[in-house]
């Protein structure tokens, strides 16, 4: 590839100026047409607050929501990856039963709006499953140390079972997409690789583990990482079942303070911090992968 240093021409300058002018026009229109008392000074106190009891700064409403979003996305990503890998292998399996199972799962989940899925799971499925498992009983009867650990990893006891149902729903939902990513990755490996592995006398499992998967993973990783960002974004949907993540906390705060726009803009910024960080790490990862393959 020839390395040409980009030059800024007059056309670029004019276009750039036009875009900036348009941006300012929108801001002007919004601030003129919208009768709204801006009050940005009130926002910082909702990030952290000084706790006079312990004499420390502790997270307030928004940061707590932010942390819940991170927890939820982290665990959901982990479980969804697990589901996705298992189901993805099912999708390319030689057993008809496994293929049907994987296919039904993917088609069912992918063809439903996430919002509908979440309500169905929250009100019906999790309502039947969680009490049987005794999740709530379990968490409430634990000692203080374990409760503190669970609060740190998941959610406080009072919100634990709701958090778990949100987690299950989100994992199953994202898992369907990861299944397809895994399936596509495996199927993209050329037929010759399978045949070569076969010729070497490897067993079915060895072929997959030693030849196909190492190659497939390199193709799977970039879209998989993209799916992780989707998980963070989709986690805001669970605000409808009152999981106290960032969107929910923001909306609660809005109904108390009526700082509607300040809070929405702040939340936008907080989500961007999270997703852009992931995005940049993925870009790094992709570069690293390309270097290692070439």
């Amino acid at each position: 590839m020839v390395n040409v240093k980009p030059k800024i021409t007059i056309v670029d300058l004019v276009l750039g100026a036009l875009i900036v002018a348009f941006g300012f026009y929108i801001i002007y229109k919004v601030s003129a047409g919208l009768s709204y008392h801006w009050n940005w000074n009130a926002i910082p106190q909702y990030f952290f607050r000084y706790d006079s009891e312990s004499g420390n700064w502790v997270p307030n409403i928004l940061v707590e929501g932010f942390l819940t979003t991170i927890r939820l996305s982290f665990w959901a990503t982990l479980f969804a990856t697990f589901i996705g890998v298992v189901m993805g292998l099912f999708r390319v399996s030689q057993s008809l039963f496994k293929r049907l199972l994987g296919g039904t799962y993917v088609e069912l989940i992918r063809n439903l709006p996430p919002l509908v899925l979440i309500f169905i799971f929250y009100f019906f499925v999790s309502n039947q499953i969680l009490p049987v498992l005794g999740v709530e009983e379990f968490i409430r009867t634990r000692g203080e140390k374990i409760q503190a650990l669970m609060t740190f990893l998941f959610a406080q006891p009072s919100l634990f079972s709701a958090f778990i149902s949100a987690l299950i729903t989100l994992s199953i939902f994202e898992g369907a997409y990861i299944t397809e990513i895994v399936r596509a990755g495996i199927q993209s490996i050329e037929k010759g690789q399978w045949e070569a592995a076969d010729a070497l006398g490897l067993s079915k499992w060895q072929r997959m583990r030693l030849v196909i998967l190492p190659q497939a993973i390199q193709r799977i990783l970039p879209p998989l990482a993209g799916q992780f960002i989707s998980t963070i974004k989709d986690s805001s949907i669970v605000s409808v079942i009152s999981i106290q993540e960032l969107t929910f906390q923001g909306m609660e705060l809005m109904s108390t303070t009526y700082f509607t726009f300040e809070i929405w803009i702040t939340i936008t910024g907080m989500y961007l911090i999270l997703t852009l960080t992931c995005s940049l790490s993925i870009a790094k990862l992709e570069t690293a992968l390309r270097k290692s393959t070439v």
Binding site: N60, E64, E252, M254, S255, Y258, T260
Partner: protein, 276 residues
């Protein structure tokens, strides 16, 4: 002789039958008591209360702690029962399904007692009365001073989805266009932006907003135009819990405690600096 034996047998059987029947009834009663929400709550030591943010019924203060009239009521109820109270903030539209599927034990969330809701849940006796009020945009609803003036096809009314405010808007302004939102903040914002002529909401919110945005909003009609009893909502078929709540409300009312709390949250603004 033979007849005698048969008779004796029949009597014995009947006695055993009646006795068994009584035992079953007693067991069922025992079981009902055991399974009542109130027993469960005391066993657990925690009362789970479903609520939704409604200023000044329930809201979060600066430190993220819940405060408000409903919160005081629930806290006191918990104290009198000797249990701790856990609040579960829930979206208004999903609050009844959440109660029915056992996400919490009771709704103490300013829920108006309505016959259609009552088909799905049981209500305690009212512990409070709410009313709907209307607040309008000064520019586009200028000169409006009667409720009928809002009942026009070219007038837009905003209200919260699934609330009694939405019902009141439909009932009193059937001809007007309606816009429903999930939160009161969005409802008020719609009026501030001039996309709706007026908002219907439970008092005292409209009055508070008219004071806050004095140069944009006004009260076309003073006071409230509906009166709605507010009660605790709980799952059906639980007589013990209903009885406890009813009598707790009677006692709290007789002591004047409810009126005192209501005055603090609804007629004073002493709590204003707690939230901002």
């Amino acid at each position: 002789m033979r007849l005698k034996i048969v008779t004796v047998l029949a009597v014995v059987m009947a006695v055993i039958g009646i006795h068994a029947h009584q035992t079953i009834a007693g067991e069922i009663q025992q079981q009902l008591v055991q399974e009542s929400t109130i027993e469960q709550v005391i066993k657990r030591g925690v009362l789970r209360v479903g609520m939704s943010t409604f200023v000044p019924w329930a809201m979060k203060d600066k430190t993220g702690k819940l405060i408000g009239f409903e919160i005081d009521v629930a806290q006191q109820l918990g104290k009198d029962m000797g249990v701790t109270v856990e609040f579960i903030p829930t979206k208004w539209a999903g609050i009844i399904p959440s109660l029915l599927t056992g996400k919490f034990d009771v709704i103490i969330g300013g829920m108006s007692i309505r016959p259609d809701r009552n088909l799905k849940v049981n209500f305690s006796i009212p512990y409070d009365y709410a009313g709907q009020a209307i607040v309008a945009n000064k520019k586009i609803a200028a000169g409006f001073n009667r409720l009928e003036q809002f009942n026009q096809p070219d007038v837009t009314i905003a209200a919260r989805l699934g609330s009694t405010a939405a019902d009141a808007a439909n009932q009193f302004m059937p001809k007007a266009q309606k816009k429903f939102f999930d939160d009161e903040a969005q409802v008020i914002q719609e009026v501030l932006n001039g996309r709706a002529h007026a908002a219907v909401a439970s008092a005292p919110l409209p009055a508070f907003q008219a004071i806050k945005y004095a140069d944009q909003l006004f009260l076309p009609v003073q006071g409230t135009f509906t009166k709605e009893p507010i009660g605790f909502a709980l799952r059906k078929g639980d007589f013990d819990t209903l009885n406890y709540f009813d009598n707790w409300i009677r006692v709290a009312d007789a002591k004047g405690w409810l009126a005192e709390r209501k005055h603090y949250w609804f007629e004073t603004r002493d709590w204003e600096n707690l939230i901002q």
